[in-house]
Symmetry: C2
Subunit: 228 residues, 2 copies
């Protein structure tokens, strides 16, 4: 766990770097705002009397410089994330790999098997017999990952509660990258494999409503209807 402890400090350091980045972004946004307000005042004068405005050769010159002005703003906006993002890139070599993550997910599923733990209890972060230092609940993304891992191993009974819990949480997670249609896709097939064709059909109908162009939804609908 020496390496894992180091990771906690890497994350702490990234958070303080992020704090600086946020403060910088606020200042940048203030500058863009002031620039916009100044240009808006100019633009208001210009568009209320275009002929008169352009009759002044200095205004005509400013108008011809429009490209440079907006290019400068574009650069300013684009470079904004760079400092923090390059700091993040430096640290990336220290991050756990996808393999590490899957290993940790497998460990959680093993723990669940060993102690016959309920998915919802495990997701809440309240584990019997282990120190509850922080109530780190599992997000919808986490539940989906665990469900998909069990699914990929053909353990549909294990997958079903994780996917079901992910679906009930969907959109609540702070990362929120998992969509309900992804969850419904895996869940409906798991439920079908567990023998509940009626529920599989209902879930697939939900999927077809949510995502009418889903590649498997229409085919599965016909198949499950035929199976009933």
């Amino acid at each position: 766990t020496g390496h894992m402890t180091d990771l906690l400090y890497v994350e702490q350091e990234l958070l303080s770097s992020l704090e600086k980045h946020i403060a910088e972004q606020e200042l940048r946004l203030q500058r863009v705002k002031r620039w916009k307000e100044m240009k808006e005042a100019e633009s208001h004068v210009a568009t209320s009397d275009p002929e008169g405005f352009l009759g002044n050769p200095i205004n005509a010159y400013h108008t011809m410089r429009m490209g440079q002005r907006w290019a400068a703003l574009e650069n300013f906006l684009q470079e904004s994330a760079e400092g923090f993002v390059s700091r993040l890139a430096e640290r990336r070599a220290l991050f756990p790999s996808e393999e590490d993550r899957v290993g940790a997910a497998r460990a959680l599923l093993r723990l669940q098997d060993t102690y016959a733990l309920d998915a919802e209890l495990l997701a809440s972060g309240k584990l019997p017999g282990v120190p509850l230092v922080s109530a780190s609940a599992l997000s919808a993304d986490d539940c989906f990952s665990l469900g998909r891992l069990a699914y990929s191993e053909g353990r549909y009974a294990r997958a079903e509660p994780w996917l079901g819990h992910a679906l009930s949480q969907e959109g609540v997670g702070d990362e929120g990258t998992v969509g309900a249609s992804d969850v419904l896709d895996y869940l409906s097939y798991s439920v079908y494999r567990l023998g509940d064709v009626q529920r599989a059909l209902n879930l697939t109908r939900r999927l077809a409503v949510l995502d009418p162009d889903h590649p498997r939804a229409q085919a599965n609908l016909h198949y499950f209807e035929y199976e009933m």
Copy 2:
């Protein structure tokens, strides 16, 4: 001027698009801030008792997911400028070209010649005999551009007041892309060509102090000292 009038409306439309972008950025920044605060609270708990924290397998799993978490943030930060920037790119075809800009700069210099106008007066935007719709002063960048244009045509007497005025304004302009060392470089040579070697030397000394590695500063210092 039909095309030029259109440009005024293009700019107005870009400004309202920028306004939306700023409002979006403020919301995004709020989201990043909330995320940071949540993670900071977690990080505080984790680093106060790393062993205890990692003893909870869910916390260990979260730690292993660190890479995904920060990658999601990185994407979120990087995509932030995209909407507005692509809108800007669409409009870029309508922007005046560099040739248009130089044409407008030439027109200003011609006007200056015709009416024997003072650079500082012209820079202030107050032109005798033309409607003063908006008091659009010329920025340091503009004065530098005009000075450099005159310089490139060998008109050092015309260049000198524009460059001098750019120098006095330096850092004041809202775009602020021109640096004092660029201005000093052109100004010292113009002044030298006008015969004032002492002033050329003084300006080059300022340049050498400001930018000790400047490619021309040291060579010119020796040359002007020799000429004295």
